[in-house]
């Protein structure tokens, strides 16, 4: 600072760069970090690294600058946003806000931001059904990411207590709304994935709320963290009608925290009912198998009986045939045909016995000539 005459001695004089430094120092002391709400205009991203836009309302406009990586929600001209920023004068003397975070506000802007990001992430395939992994049927370790003060957390635990027991819940107590919520949830997801014994499933919970309350779950980095999680993720966010990008990217989404408990844990009563039904069914199976065995024994007995009966019949038939054959040699049959049977020694003057069908006779051999 340079001092000239008396008047000048009371009036500070600066070099330009010093003056800018003093102004920025004064701004920092006066404001530090501030939030400003306004409408986005002249939004542009240069070289995919630097984001420029104006924030305006009916009475004025202020230039804003931020790094592209800090922009976690898509912006478009006309969207109403709140920026957290540090007011600064650049080395060229231009006043601007160096933006740290930007959040859409108002239903229209939130919806617009949601739709823009949804299209972008869908084009990357983050919501594809093929990416979805099944949740374990009987999880033993479940990481719950929620605020333990939230009604949604209490609802989840209440229903969980009625389901199959024996589960270890590891609870990461995080904010589930507000500017720091997405980063806290992301850190909890990373924590779960880096555990020496990772959980079987991660459940992200938050009860109902306004679109603004739930907007944390539409944060791009959070959505990408869920997509990148090695551990399957189940979400239970808001009410039936709410849909967040976290729901869309999760392996499974439940409509409410209570429903999430029903989805992640098997139904104890249904399992008990099934066990009892299985035991009943087994008794029926036993009876059937016993009947089958008895039927088999009957069949074998019947078959054996049939074989024996056939054998007897065959033997009877053979006996009958032999009897028929023997009858052919019966002398009576020959006598009945008119022949006579002569018995005795065939010698001259010998008496022989003659038997016919009707009589017995004796006769003397008067002539014996050899044939």
């Amino acid at each position: 600072m340079h001092c000239g005459n008396m008047e000048s001695a009371l009036t500070p004089r600066f070099r330009v760069s010093d003056f800018l430094a003093v102004v920025n120092q004064s701004l920092e002391v006066a404001f530090g970090s501030i939030e400003v709400e306004g409408e986005v205009a002249s939004f542009k991203v240069n070289h995919q690294k630097y984001v420029f836009f104006d924030l305006k309302d009916a009475g004025g406009s202020v230039g804003c600058f931020m790094s592209a990586w800090q922009l976690r929600t898509p912006l478009e001209d006309g969207m109403r946003v709140v920026v957290r920023a540090i007011p600064k004068v650049t080395t060229w003397g231009k006043f601007s806000l160096t933006v740290q975070t930007v959040h859409p506000v108002g239903e229209g802007s939130l919806k617009k931001s949601f739709e823009l990001l949804k299209v972008k992430l869908a084009n990357e395939g983050l919501f594809d059904v093929a990416r979805k992994r099944p949740l374990p049927a009987f999880p033993a370790r479940v990481m719950v990411i929620s605020s333990v003060q939230a009604a949604g957390y209490a609802d989840f635990m209440k229903i969980a207590a009625q389901r199959t027991g024996g589960v270890k819940f590891i609870v990461a107590n995080v904010q589930v709304q507000g500017a720091s919520a997405p980063d806290q949830i992301i850190r909890a997801i990373d924590y779960a994935n880096q555990l020496p014994e990772p959980p079987d499933v991660i459940v992200v919970l938050r009860g109902g709320g306004s679109a603004d309350d739930l907007s944390a779950f539409n944060d791009e980095l959070l959505v990408r963290a869920i997509a990148a999680s090695r551990v399957p993720v189940l979400t239970g966010i808001g009410h039936e009608t709410d849909e967040s990008l976290s729901d869309l990217v999760a392996d499974r989404s439940a409509v409410t925290p209570s429903h999430a408990a029903q989805v992640v844990l098997p139904d104890r009563e249904a399992l008990i009912a099934r066990l009892r039904a299985d035991r009943e069914a087994l008794l029926t199976t036993c009876e059937q198998r016993l009947s089958e065995c008895m039927a088999t024994v009957d069949d074998v007995r019947h078959d054996a009986l049939e074989v024996w009966a056939n054998d007897v019949a065959q033997r009877l038939e053979g006996t009958r045939a032999r009897r028929e054959a023997l009858r052919a040699y019966d002398p009576e049959l020959v006598l009945r045909q008119g022949y006579a049977l002569i018995t005795g020694e065939a010698k001259l003057d010998n008496i022989v016995k003659i038997t016919t069908k009707e009589a017995y006779m004796k006769a003397r051999i008067e002539e014996y000539v050899k044939r």
């Binding site: 049927a137 207590a161 270890k168 819940f169 590891i170 990461a172 107590n173 299985d278 087994l282």
Partner: protein, 65 residues
């Protein structure tokens, strides 16, 4: 019954035992003993389902920074 098995493992074991009754390996000689095993296992699972409580651990770890 073995308590160090998870409910899922116990239910799987039960289903395997039940499957024997529908298999060609079924024999009347073994059926009664096997049915008793299944009855005991099913009762043990039911007791586990009714008695086992959850364990909740809220992490002390802060996630705000």
């Amino acid at each position: 019954m073995s308590n160090d098995k998870t409910i899922e493992q116990q239910i799987t074991a039960l289903q395997e035992k039940i499957a024997w009754f529908h298999s060609d390996a079924f024999s009347l000689d073994e059926a009664a003993a096997r049915y008793k095993e299944i009855d005991d296992l099913a009762a043990a699972i039911e007791r586990t389902l009714l008695e086992k409580k959850h364990h909740i651990e809220v992490l002390k770890q802060k996630f705000d920074e």
